[in-house]
Amino acid sequence: MAKKLPKTDVVIIGVGWAGGIIASELTKQGLSVVGLERGKERVTEDYYMAHDELRYALRYELMQDLSKETITFRGNEKIRALPMRQYGSFLLGEGVGGAGVHWNGQTYRFLPYDFEIRSMTEERYGKDKIPPGMMIQDWGITYDKLEPYFDKFEKMAGISGEVNPLAGKRSNEYPTPPMLHTPSMKMFVEAAKKLNLHPYTVPSANLSESYTNPDGISRAACQYCGYCERFGCEYGAKADPVVTVIPVAKKTGKFEIRTHSYVRRILHSGGKATGVMYTDMTTGEEIEQPADIVVSTGYVFNNTRLMLLSKIGKPYDPATGKGVIGKNYAYQVIKGNAVGFFDDQKFNLYAGAGSLGVCVDDYNGDNFDHSDLKFIHGGNIAHTFTGQRPIQNNPVPEDSPRWGKEFKANSLKYANSVLTIGSQGSSMPFRHHYLDLDPTYKDAFGDPLIRITFDFEEQDRELARYLSDRCGDIMKEMGTDRILKMKELGPYEITTYQSTHNTGGVIMGASPDTSAVNNYMQMWDMENLFVIGASAFPHNSGYNPTGTVGALAYRAAEGIVQYSKKGGLLV
């Protein structure tokens, strides 16, 4: 029998960006919040020895322990899904701050087009533009309605940036000026301008200068140390939940974080959530935490899996297209890029920051004419300068061997002479891409793992090729000696790192028939349960998702406060 604890106003599952934002906003309004986090406590002092590529980047120090839980994957329904036994394609965070600790900090806003993608695509190109099986749908909210929440997230995190001429309208400029430009970033800007594109500095959660946010939190400027992605920031210069929203929540005295607390079920009766059941990982004890409001703020896979394990909402059935939980799993098309080898020029590639870079959106969203193209949407094209750490970065020309004398000579020659222009291609949902519970493989408790059924489609192959060519155009203009471009996207594989931008599974929308949550992230089927994260995205855009997750979290926080007073469905 589970030990039952006293009831709290709100329990949140997973203390990352979404959980931290909910905790800070709700406790400010006087609600008592318990945050359950399955990993450990994290503080900035943990990162004194963080400039360690082997430990953090190759041995995944900050990531979820796959021996206890992983995902299974298959390219399509005819293949047997098998577990992701080691990390590759994406990295799952764990511990206080979640994946918000080891992100790069590139903080974009999705485009107005994203939120009304079906209507706007049909309007401009006609219904036939959307191929059979592509499940794009409007998000049940417009960009303009979401704008104040983007603004709030950016001010809290102190985002450094300059206005993107091709994005949605902003109510305010960025709170801090753009990051410094390296010589290669200047080359990119010049080249892009020559091609009549609209370059701008990547919006950065690595602070360009010291900053005090509206909550009174002060943080130091980024030192361009070159250790962001996969690492924690020893300066607190990279916005993460541990140095921004969590201390604000703690200061109210109304937020209690319980680490090593692995939530396994959302409990419910009579159509309402009553609390959660979790296992204390230090004792093995099962504990029940009753609450008036339950907020699931885990990663995409955890949010979806928890709904399925707790039997909440109608599971998606790809055969009929009915049901919503697990629907519209999407990813990103990252491989369309161009690598330039400079024979007579060297760059300080060892330096950098996770969100140091310059980019263009001329080929993102519907910023360009798709009439003669065999895909919709597009992707952000960027030259980022994130710190080329030596174990993972040994680019050599195509005709060079991968080991031996010649490899060594080439890898040393080009160690500081290779620039990359990459694209972040959007990912459209398809009827046969989804998440469900695996019939075979289990976690450490004996609960089924989540199963991914996903592969790249013709849309993705066309998009990757197109974006790769556009990256090549800019690289050529930058004056390189030779360019290595992606040739063929190939099938989706779980083994190579691409992007930790998985989306969908508990998607938002205007109707309970086609979505799981409304535009306050409130479950249509269970009014006191809110599910927040990129799990709410009906498709994935051509940008990093965190800015949009942050905006949705601030909107949800407003909704939860409203709900705590009046109850009922908010939409």
Partner: protein
């Protein structure tokens, strides 16, 4: 030789004391740039306790002595035979040349030995639950054996294949013959019953690069010579002062310098 290369050559020859000096320099610059010294705001992060540490307890790495024994250079996992095969193989993957030392002199075989002895060798943080099926290439490694066992089998098979083909142990082969053996493994021309030959080769290759370029604390990248060959500065507190500049060589520091 270009100007940049000359710089890098000089830097390689720089003494430890100079590195320490520049470390102090960069720390001072860092403090100025970060605004700590000028701003009245108390900033979070590590800044607070970095400063008293710097003033009261200067870093005290052991004084470099000629011919000092490195007690870290002993075996935790490999037999002497396995160590010899590994050392010969990694040297072919990353050989000594005019640029500098190869994997052998960088301590890569010790690095791999030490890594296999720990949780990485046991795949402790990987999902190793049954059932095991042969999967699609896109689904990644699906074997039931861990990295220790892969090395155990792979090294033995390198030896067997060398004996079969050349009637010699792998370490006794000429460099060209060793390359031919490794190439046969890389291209799966060798048929192993329990593991894939190319899978073993890829693991050997990736752990060689790890040993060449990881922080020297792990036993490879001896004296940061792996980093020096490609002008990688290792662990530095700040690059704010060079980020806008043209190519600049910064003498490397390890995590030991940071303690």
């Amino acid at each position: 030789m270009s100007e940049q290369d000359q710089h890098s050559q000089q830097n390689e020859n720089r003494e430890a004391t100079k590195t320490k000096e520049s470390q102090r320099m960069s720390r001072r610059k860092f403090l100025t740039r970060s605004g700590y010294a000028v701003g009245g705001v108390v900033l979070g992060g590590l800044l607070g306790y970095l400063i008293p540490k710097e003033e009261t307890k200067p870093a005290t790495p052991p004084a470099p002595q000629q011919q000092q024994k490195n007690y870290n250079e002993a075996l935790m996992f490999f037999t002497q035979e396995q160590y010899a095969i590994t050392q010969a193989a990694v040297e072919r993957i990353f050989p000594a040349d005019d640029n500098g030392p190869g994997a052998k002199d960088l301590g890569v075989a010790f690095f791999i030995d030490h890594q296999l002895a720990g949780d990485w060798g046991f795949n402790a943080r990987d999902y190793m639950q049954p059932p095991f099926y042969v999967g699609e290439k896109t689904q990644g490694y699906q074997g039931r054996i861990n990295r220790r066992e892969i090395f155990y089998i792979g090294l033995r098979e390198l030896q067997n294949y060398s004996q079969k083909k050349y009637k010699k142990d792998f370490p006794a082969l000429s460099p060209e013959e060793q390359d031919a053996v490794l190439t046969a493994f890389q291209n799966d021309e060798v048929n192993l019953t329990t593991i894939s030959a190319s899978g073993f080769f890829n693991l050997l290759r990736s752990s060689t690069l790890e040993g060449v370029y990881s922080d020297p604390l792990y036993g490879g990248n001896k004296n940061m010579q792996g980093w020096a060959m490609r002008d990688y500065p290792g662990n530095q507190m700040t690059y704010t002062n060079i980020i806008e500049k043209d190519y600049t060589v910064v003498p490397p520091q390890s995590l030991r310098d940071h303690l």
